[in-house]
Assembly symmetry: C2
Homo-oligomer: 418 residues x 2
């Protein structure tokens, strides 16, 4: 089937999905989970073929992302069941007011329609994205990476069996057959057939979507996150937050890449940072953090001299750029110039400094005395996440079920004219 034919089929399923009851959607999610478990042997077989074909072509970290096993399939099935337990976002009344002329104007949450997701090697995205799209009344069009196509086909076959069992159209979960760049370009250009496009993956994919998409697109991802240690910081707290933000999972977008330190505490703080991230981690058998230092920081501790690119790089690694700044204002200017609008934190005991930071940092999540690693749908209490938006329109920060909805105005009259 061509991608355009598939999109037409997806659009034909929109109305039924938008009108589906909570109970029906939850039954489908549970049936999909059961079908995944039942299809585990077929899925693992398909995945083994994908893995064999990818040997020598993908880096080890990508191969690991591609690999499925019983536990990962069980995690996908549980994920579907978890989404069934979340509240239905469709039909919520967002506002209601009666006008002087008697019109009742209600603003009601509705599904977006057809949500297309372009992703890379992880086959579990197929089930995760389908679950969120279904619960929010959307039809999803999934375009995964070519190396995972066999696995994705096996997974989506199981998901469709579950849909069918619950009496929902199988077109609610569509897997794009063409995994070449051409199909990604078709999705980006499918005005009228794609209501929302969400790229999930590396920077290149996201930039290509944002720059080329003619359909509405959500920019997810890149996080150059800062932790600023203020003059009035509790230095023990700063160490603990920085170690967590940097080292608990360096490969994710909400991890810290840059530490800014107020000049007045640099002498006291930097040697402790050096010990905490270096020698103490080594002694504890943990991977130490490589520090890339501005010239002022290098006066107090040892490390790699920071190059010009180091304050504009999402390392996603055990590397931290460190810069000494003269003031809160200088920290704000640095973040404005080098941040990506994802997550930034201040560590301070000074309420005025905290307020200024919160007001002036233009990022999706701004933290006072907490780790940037909390920027996550689960941690925010959304129950799930389709990605983290770093744009300012539509959705910002973690996108849960509500962010996969639009709204419409419903106006009840009794013959009013203007």
């Amino acid at each position: 089937m061509t991608t355009i034919e598939l999109l037409r089929g997806a659009n034909a399923a929109k109305r039924q999905m938008a009108a589906a009851s909570t109970q029906c959607k939850n039954e489908a999610l549970r049936a999909m989970a059961a079908a995944l478990r039942q299809s585990a042997p077929a899925i693992l077989e398909a995945n083994a073929l994908d893995m064999r074909a990818a040997q020598g072509k993908l880096r080890d970290v990508m191969l690991d992302r591609l690999a499925l096993n019983e536990a990962r399939i069980e995690a996908m099935a549980r994920g579907l069941e978890d989404v069934a337990a979340l509240p239905n976002p469709v039909g919520r009344e967002l506002s209601r007011h009666a006008r002087p002329n008697g019109l009742l104007i209600r603003k009601v949450a509705v599904p977006m329609g057809v949500v297309a997701i372009i992703y890379e090697s992880r086959p579990n995205v197929t089930a995760d994205a389908a679950a969120l799209a279904l619960k929010s009344g959307n039809v999803c069009v999934l375009r995964g990476g070519k190396e995972a196509y066999g696995s994705n086909r096996a997974i989506s076959a199981a998901l469709r069996a579950g849909l069918q069992q619950a009496g929902l159209p199988v077109q609610a979960v569509c897997l794009v057959e063409d995994t070449s760049r051409a199909s990604a370009a078709e999705l980006m250009a499918a005005v009228g057939l794609v209501d929302l496009l969400i790229p999930r993956g590396g920077e290149g994919l996201i930039r290509a979507c944002v720059e080329n998409a003619k359909v509405p697109c959500i920019q997810t991802g890149t996080g150059i996150c800062h932790v600023y240690v203020d003059a009035a910081a509790d230095l023990d707290m700063a160490l603990s937050i920085i170690e967590n933000a940097k080292a608990s999972r360096p490969s994710v977008c909400n991890s810290e890449e840059v530490c800014l330190v107020h000049a007045s505490v640099a002498e006291a703080f930097l040697p402790r940072l050096f010990a905490r991230l270096g020698t103490e981690r080594q002694a504890a058998g943990l991977q130490p953090i490589e520090l890339r230092l501005c010239p002022r920081a290098a006066k107090y501790i040892q490390g790699t001299p920071a190059g010009t690119a180091d304050f504009d790089t999402e390392f996603l690694d055990y590397i931290l750029a460190v810069k000494v700044v003269d003031s809160l204002e200088a920290a704000l200017e640095h973040i404005a110039a080098h941040g990506t609008g994802h997550s930034d934190a201040i560590v301070t005991g000074d309420e005025t400094a905290a307020q200024a930071f919160v007001r002036d940092v233009d990022s999706a999540a701004v933290y006072v005395n907490a780790s940037t690693r909390f920027t996550d749908g689960g941690e925010f209490g959304l129950g799930c996440e389709m990605g983290i938006s770093t744009q300012k329109t539509h959705a910002r920060g973690p996108m849960g079920l509500e962010e996969l909805c639009s709204y419409k105005y419903v106006i009840q009259g009794a013959g009013q004219v203007r």
Copy 2:
């Protein structure tokens, strides 16, 4: 100044505008109104030159849009004062919840940043758009039509004088000097310098923005609005709604273009529609409506046979396409296939039919027993309007001050790590 230089200046003013107090913004709006009144002679002089240059180049309707007089300047000044009276949308707390780990997560409305508006010949948009952008804490970059440049320059000079008086940066209102297509293209491509682009104008301009913009863009405008006369309609009410929706102001996007009539009432209703929109209007000295009829409607009344394009045309004129449908379902299918997602209405006394219509019509505003002409920021109680969005992401329907905002998450901790 080049457009890029101007955008850099606009971005430099973002932080100050985002932090401006309600009082300061309101003072600025009132000072801008006073400056407009004071500058009326200079504005009228500039407008007279614009008008002279446009003679013979623009159609009469466009010349009328370009023309200013004392009353129109007074209306602009009043508009600024009206916006001062509206609540400040910035800083509203959209949600707040404490997590089990003690983090307090608040979702707070913040300005979008730099809002660029591309518009055509009406110089009053300069003041209207600036007022809404300022009240919502945004910086606005205004790119009006070349035929109105002199008028726009005089108006924006007055607005800037008001800003200065209130101690706000004059860069909060920037008028693009280059009025060629090149500057529109620059705004569409200015990733990182334009946070939101709003095209206000004809279909060609809007399509160009939606298809080419690399910056976030709101699709405004085109309205092929339907009124469906159900089998259970009160026919008197239907006549009154249709005459209002079609004839009260045919040139606007929320006016009706297509009337769908259930077959079971066609024989009773259509002759009355013919009389109401034709002979009765003529007798009252009003412009009659030309009816473009499907073959079934033509069995009951006289009119122009509808061509294939007539059900897909935004006439913006005293023309109404009329079609007989066999069922509510057929009406829904017609609207899904031919609507533009703007405003659609059902006239019915049947609650079940009304519910199905409201659920299944995928438009910004869905009406039961009321005229589509109410889709308007003022009529919806928003107090103002930057345009009517026909897209589903970010904002849908009339865009007021809240829709010119984004949000950020502000997280207060006490040293929490993950």
